[in-house]
Symmetry: C2
Subunit: 102 residues, 2 copies
Protein backbone atom coordinates (compact mmCIF):
# COMPACT_ATOMS: atom_id res chain seq x y z
CA UNK A 1 0.00 0.00 0.00
CA UNK A 2 1.13 3.51 -0.64
CA UNK A 3 0.99 4.49 3.03
CA UNK A 4 3.75 2.03 3.80
CA UNK A 5 5.98 3.35 1.04
CA UNK A 6 5.64 6.91 2.27
CA UNK A 7 6.36 5.89 5.84
CA UNK A 8 9.50 4.15 4.74
CA UNK A 9 10.75 7.00 2.61
CA UNK A 10 10.19 9.40 5.47
CA UNK A 11 13.33 8.02 7.11
CA UNK A 12 16.50 9.60 5.69
CA UNK A 13 18.65 6.57 6.43
CA UNK A 14 16.33 4.39 4.42
CA UNK A 15 16.35 6.78 1.52
CA UNK A 16 20.13 6.75 1.75
CA UNK A 17 20.15 2.99 1.41
CA UNK A 18 17.93 3.12 -1.63
CA UNK A 19 20.21 5.74 -3.16
CA UNK A 20 23.21 3.51 -2.62
CA UNK A 21 21.47 0.49 -4.04
CA UNK A 22 20.41 2.40 -7.09
CA UNK A 23 24.05 2.56 -8.15
CA UNK A 24 24.88 -1.05 -7.37
CA UNK A 25 24.01 -3.87 -5.03
CA UNK A 26 25.66 -3.93 -1.60
CA UNK A 27 26.26 -6.24 1.32
CA UNK A 28 25.05 -5.37 4.79
CA UNK A 29 28.58 -4.61 5.90
CA UNK A 30 29.12 -2.13 3.12
CA UNK A 31 25.93 -0.35 4.05
CA UNK A 32 26.93 -0.25 7.70
CA UNK A 33 30.16 1.49 6.68
CA UNK A 34 28.19 4.17 4.89
CA UNK A 35 25.40 4.68 7.37
CA UNK A 36 26.84 5.68 10.75
CA UNK A 37 24.55 3.38 12.65
CA UNK A 38 24.97 -0.01 14.27
CA UNK A 39 24.85 -3.23 12.27
CA UNK A 40 21.68 -4.43 13.97
CA UNK A 41 19.99 -1.17 13.14
CA UNK A 42 20.97 -1.55 9.51
CA UNK A 43 19.70 -5.11 9.43
CA UNK A 44 16.35 -3.97 10.80
CA UNK A 45 16.17 -1.15 8.34
CA UNK A 46 16.79 -3.63 5.55
CA UNK A 47 14.10 -5.87 6.96
CA UNK A 48 11.64 -3.04 6.64
CA UNK A 49 12.68 -2.31 3.09
CA UNK A 50 12.45 -5.98 2.24
CA UNK A 51 8.98 -6.43 3.73
CA UNK A 52 7.83 -3.50 1.64
CA UNK A 53 9.31 -5.05 -1.49
CA UNK A 54 11.76 -2.21 -1.98
CA UNK A 55 14.83 -4.45 -1.98
CA UNK A 56 15.80 -7.98 -2.88
CA UNK A 57 18.30 -10.17 -1.08
CA UNK A 58 20.72 -12.63 -2.54
CA UNK A 59 22.74 -15.01 -0.38
CA UNK A 60 26.47 -15.19 -0.96
CA UNK A 61 27.95 -17.55 1.61
CA UNK A 62 27.59 -15.77 4.93
CA UNK A 63 26.88 -12.48 3.25
CA UNK A 64 23.60 -11.07 2.07
CA UNK A 65 23.69 -8.90 -1.00
CA UNK A 66 20.89 -6.38 -1.26
CA UNK A 67 19.61 -4.82 -4.45
CA UNK A 68 16.92 -2.32 -5.35
CA UNK A 69 13.42 -3.19 -6.45
CA UNK A 70 11.70 -0.24 -8.01
CA UNK A 71 8.10 -1.42 -8.29
CA UNK A 72 6.87 0.30 -5.11
CA UNK A 73 8.48 3.49 -6.28
CA UNK A 74 6.65 3.13 -9.55
CA UNK A 75 3.46 2.96 -7.50
CA UNK A 76 4.44 6.21 -5.86
CA UNK A 77 5.01 7.63 -9.29
CA UNK A 78 1.51 6.58 -10.24
CA UNK A 79 0.09 8.22 -7.12
CA UNK A 80 1.83 11.41 -8.11
CA UNK A 81 0.50 11.45 -11.66
CA UNK A 82 -2.72 13.43 -11.09
CA UNK A 83 -0.78 16.01 -9.10
CA UNK A 84 1.63 16.39 -11.96
CA UNK A 85 -1.32 17.29 -14.10
CA UNK A 86 -2.36 19.79 -11.47
CA UNK A 87 0.88 21.73 -11.37
CA UNK A 88 1.34 21.55 -15.09
CA UNK A 89 -2.09 23.07 -15.43
CA UNK A 90 -0.98 25.86 -13.09
CA UNK A 91 2.15 26.43 -15.10
CA UNK A 92 0.43 26.70 -18.44
CA UNK A 93 -2.15 29.03 -16.91
CA UNK A 94 0.70 31.19 -15.69
CA UNK A 95 2.35 31.07 -19.07
CA UNK A 96 -0.87 32.12 -20.75
CA UNK A 97 -1.11 34.95 -18.26
CA UNK A 98 2.39 36.12 -19.06
CA UNK A 99 1.85 35.75 -22.78
CA UNK A 100 -1.33 37.82 -22.58
CA UNK A 101 0.55 40.31 -20.46
CA UNK A 102 -2.53 41.09 -18.39
Amino acid sequence: MTTAVFEILAEPSRRRVLDLLREQEHTVGELVDELDMSQPAVSKLLRVLRDAGLVDVRVDAQRRVYSLRAEPLADLDAWLAPYRKFWRGKLTALQRHIANND
Copy 2:
Protein backbone atom coordinates in the same frame (compact mmCIF):
# COMPACT_ATOMS: atom_id res chain seq x y z
CA MET B 1 13.04 19.29 2.97
CA THR B 2 11.91 16.07 1.38
CA THR B 3 11.79 14.21 4.69
CA ALA B 4 8.96 16.42 5.85
CA VAL B 5 6.97 15.85 2.69
CA PHE B 6 7.24 12.09 2.99
CA GLU B 7 6.25 12.19 6.65
CA ILE B 8 3.18 14.18 5.80
CA LEU B 9 2.12 11.97 2.93
CA ALA B 10 2.49 8.92 5.14
CA GLU B 11 -0.79 9.89 6.81
CA PRO B 12 -3.82 8.75 4.79
CA SER B 13 -6.07 11.52 6.07
CA ARG B 14 -3.60 14.12 4.89
CA ARG B 15 -3.35 12.51 1.48
CA ARG B 16 -7.14 12.54 1.40
CA VAL B 17 -7.18 16.27 2.00
CA LEU B 18 -4.71 16.86 -0.78
CA ASP B 19 -6.83 14.73 -3.10
CA LEU B 20 -9.88 16.79 -2.28
CA LEU B 21 -8.05 20.05 -2.75
CA ARG B 22 -6.72 18.92 -6.09
CA GLU B 23 -10.24 19.10 -7.47
CA GLN B 24 -11.17 22.40 -5.88
CA GLU B 25 -10.54 24.55 -2.85
CA HIS B 26 -12.48 23.77 0.33
CA THR B 27 -13.36 25.29 3.67
CA VAL B 28 -12.45 23.56 6.90
CA GLY B 29 -16.05 22.60 7.49
CA GLU B 30 -16.32 20.90 4.13
CA LEU B 31 -13.20 18.91 4.86
CA VAL B 32 -14.52 17.92 8.27
CA ASP B 33 -17.63 16.54 6.57
CA GLU B 34 -15.49 14.35 4.33
CA LEU B 35 -12.92 13.20 6.84
CA ASP B 36 -14.70 11.43 9.70
CA MET B 37 -12.62 13.15 12.32
CA SER B 38 -13.19 16.04 14.70
CA GLN B 39 -12.91 19.65 13.60
CA PRO B 40 -9.89 20.33 15.82
CA ALA B 41 -8.11 17.35 14.33
CA VAL B 42 -8.76 18.65 10.85
CA SER B 43 -7.52 22.09 11.79
CA LYS B 44 -4.28 20.60 13.11
CA LEU B 45 -3.87 18.48 10.04
CA LEU B 46 -4.26 21.60 7.92
CA ARG B 47 -1.72 23.38 10.07
CA VAL B 48 0.79 20.68 9.25
CA LEU B 49 0.06 20.89 5.56
CA ARG B 50 0.33 24.63 5.67
CA ASP B 51 3.66 24.66 7.52
CA ALA B 52 5.01 22.33 4.87
CA GLY B 53 3.79 24.63 2.12
CA LEU B 54 1.42 22.03 0.74
CA VAL B 55 -1.65 24.23 1.03
CA ASP B 56 -2.58 27.90 0.94
CA VAL B 57 -5.26 29.60 3.02
CA ARG B 58 -7.56 32.37 2.00
CA VAL B 59 -9.77 34.16 4.51
CA ASP B 60 -13.44 34.51 3.65
CA ALA B 61 -15.17 36.20 6.59
CA GLN B 62 -15.11 33.66 9.39
CA ARG B 63 -14.20 30.86 7.00
CA ARG B 64 -10.82 29.76 5.79
CA VAL B 65 -10.61 28.42 2.31
CA TYR B 66 -7.78 26.00 1.67
CA SER B 67 -6.21 25.27 -1.69
CA LEU B 68 -3.43 23.04 -2.95
CA ARG B 69 0.15 24.14 -3.51
CA ALA B 70 2.01 21.67 -5.64
CA GLU B 71 5.61 22.82 -5.29
CA PRO B 72 6.56 20.34 -2.55
CA LEU B 73 5.06 17.57 -4.62
CA ALA B 74 7.15 18.70 -7.53
CA ASP B 75 10.17 18.32 -5.25
CA LEU B 76 9.09 14.79 -4.57
CA ASP B 77 8.81 14.26 -8.29
CA ALA B 78 12.37 15.48 -8.66
CA TRP B 79 13.55 13.09 -5.95
CA LEU B 80 11.91 10.28 -7.84
CA ALA B 81 13.52 11.11 -11.17
CA PRO B 82 16.71 9.04 -10.87
CA TYR B 83 14.66 6.05 -9.75
CA ARG B 84 12.49 6.41 -12.78
CA LYS B 85 15.60 6.05 -14.85
CA PHE B 86 16.47 2.97 -12.85
CA TRP B 87 13.25 1.10 -13.47
CA ARG B 88 13.08 2.18 -17.08
CA GLY B 89 16.54 0.76 -17.51
CA LYS B 90 15.30 -2.51 -16.04
CA LEU B 91 12.35 -2.53 -18.37
CA THR B 92 14.31 -1.98 -21.55
CA ALA B 93 16.78 -4.63 -20.43
CA LEU B 94 13.88 -7.02 -20.04
CA GLN B 95 12.49 -6.02 -23.40
CA ARG B 96 15.85 -6.65 -25.03
CA HIS B 97 15.94 -10.01 -23.34
CA ILE B 98 12.54 -10.93 -24.69
CA ALA B 99 13.37 -9.63 -28.15
CA ASN B 100 16.54 -11.69 -28.25
CA ASN B 101 14.54 -14.64 -27.01
CA ASP B 102 17.53 -15.95 -25.02
